[in-house]
Symmetry: C2
Subunit: 190 residues, 2 copies
């Protein structure tokens, strides 16, 4: 697939069918993640590929509790009725974790030290694009409590659960989401 087609067409998908993802596609997606840029070339990302329905069910249950909590605290109505079925329907979840010590010199500046997490984000975006290029759908998922999901998956305490990826084949068309015109987003300093 053409790069610019992938950049334009990739969408966040919340509706999956149960068709399994081919192991070689998962491999290609993880490799795409590994090609991301990283702070001081630390390549801090580690990938946990979760395909066990029982563990996914635990994660879904935990995230439903999290949504209830956020609903109460925020007063945001949609959080009270946001379905997380995609955590069960999609055959693959990938937890992207990293050790915050695997960061760059920015750690010596006040309120910094984000390099390890930003590197993981670059890897995640590569993976979402690769998924699209392979005919798969994906979602960058962040509505979880780190400590709870860490315990369910068995992540060691020194690792940060940076984000999760939902991966599978879309059920139906993935809705298009409009984008702001670039001119509205940009200031040019000549």
């Amino acid at each position: 697939m053409d790069l610019f087609q992938a950049l334009r067409e990739r969408r966040s998908c919340r509706n999956y069918d149960s068709r399994p993802v081919e192991p070689e596609k998962i491999q290609q997606i993880l490799e795409a993640g590994g090609w991301a840029p990283s702070v001081m070339n630390k390549q801090p990302w580690r990938f946990i590929v979760i395909q066990n329905q029982n563990i996914k069910e635990h994660i879904k249950f935990s995230c439903e509790e999290t949504l209830n909590y956020m609903h109460q605290v925020s007063g945001w109505k949609w959080l009270g009725k946001y379905p997380l079925d995609y955590l069960m329907d999609a055959p693959v979840l990938i937890a992207v974790i990293a050790n915050p010590k695997d960061t760059g010199a920015e750690q010596f500046l006040p309120d910094r030290g984000e390099g390890y997490a930003f590197s993981c984000c670059a890897a995640i975006q590569n993976m979402l694009l690769a998924a699209h290029g392979l005919g798969l759908a994906s979602l960058w998922f962040s509505l979880y409590e780190k400590d709870k999901v860490r315990e369910i998956i068995g992540i060691s305490p020194e690792m940060d659960l940076v984000s999760m990826i939902v991966l599978g084949y879309a059920a139906g068309e993935v809705p298009n989401v409009p984008r702001k015109p670039v001119a509205e987003l940009t200031t040019v300093v000549e």
Copy 2:
């Protein structure tokens, strides 16, 4: 360019020639950024395109001070002799900024609220890939003090300077950097 070729071939470049970047390529790169996924589709990214040599010189001077400071605090030797000429040689810097209020429901969880910044990282990775696809070289740059560069560029106080991109044509070949094998990075939970 093929998506997977771009994912594999993109490199961090620290050596630029002074050939200007065509405005339509800058436009395509910003558009690629705008197609990134974002938390609650907030599209929090704002782009400041800096081509003024005088402002770039101020940024370089500020970052040299920052490197000196980090060198002293960290004891990391390379920081004392890390040249920042690329900030002047590359014709374009892009500051990616965002309002931390443009984040998602994760803000209601302890020590969270990173969604706006992670969305910007997705946009940046899209932009680096687009740059490569257009024959340009780039660098994800984070060795700056936010308050100092904010003042030089004139960023309003509510906006976070998430990261900067260095953009231009490479002078010579961009060195290849080896990657860890995916098997070393991955745990599979069947």
